[in-house]
Amino acid sequence: MSETAAVSAEVRERHEITTQLGMWGFLATEVLFFGGFFMAYALYRHSYPEAFAEGGRHMAFGLGTTNTALLLISSVFVAIADRAVRAGRRGLTLGCLATAWLMGLAFLGIKAIEYTQHVSDHLVPGRHFLPGQSSNPRLQLFMYLYFGMTGLHAFHMIMGLIAVAWLMNGVRSGRIGPSRPEPVAVIGLYWHFVDCVWVVLYPLFYLVGR
């Protein structure tokens, strides 16, 4: 390797580490952002275990499990895209990113079906919450946390979809490729983080009380 090529490789590696460090710093703040919700969930579940068990039984277990599988598989595709872009395999990169994007969209579609079901079941906190039923009054608290945490997660998914769409455009146009693969790794970190948050939300909402 010539001296120029060696310097270029070192500069590239430093650039990659710097961009990834920036994303890891951002993700550390995101952990605290979600952390407040996790803290509230832990305290209220400890105080009102029966209400949380009842709330868990109102959740669509099958849809929640399907959504978890979708996100886990989408993470595999994003990880493969990260390796493929470095190897200069443009078709494979685009295919993996497109599949992950579609899976993310399917996740949001299933979430929308769940929310619609909760609205028709009168499970949205407020004046019309389960009218005429003597359910546990703390159930509303569970539903507040459910809508807050899954809603915040869904917002992050939408941001992830926009970012992956931008990546696909970059790979297609040639702006992102083997000579500049960092954006795939950095946005991939974000996508995997959103997956991690859901991995924790799944047992907290869909497995509680079962």
Binding site: L43, A69, L72, R210
Partner: protein, 90 residues
């Protein structure tokens, strides 16, 4: 930095993640019990380790990136431990 995880290994990790998901889904069988929460959270922790180590490539990086990742975990732990400590000792 260490060498990359091969693509075929990533598929293997994906299969392991789906197996862990199936295990957590199986905990709904039978009557509700306190141990199920512990088991399902332990399985979630195992899934997080796989994702962070292999997909987010924490296993490949050293130094500052690991410090940043550990800082996030440390702050969350402080929040939960101090929050619960105050609540349980009032």
């Amino acid at each position: 930095m260490k060498s990359e995880v091969p693509m075929c290994d990533l598929i293997g990790i994906g299969i392991a993640l789906l197996f862990l998901l199936a295990l957590s889904a199986l905990t709904v069988i039978g009557p509700s019990a306190g141990w199920k929460t512990i088991v399902s959270l332990a399985i979630a922790a195992a899934k997080l380790v796989l994702i962070v180590w292999f997909f987010m490539r924490l296993g490949r990086h050293r130094g500052l990136i690991r410090v940043f990742a550990a800082a996030g975990l440390c702050w969350l732990s402080l929040l939960l431990v101090l929050g619960f400590g105050d609540y349980l000792t009032r």
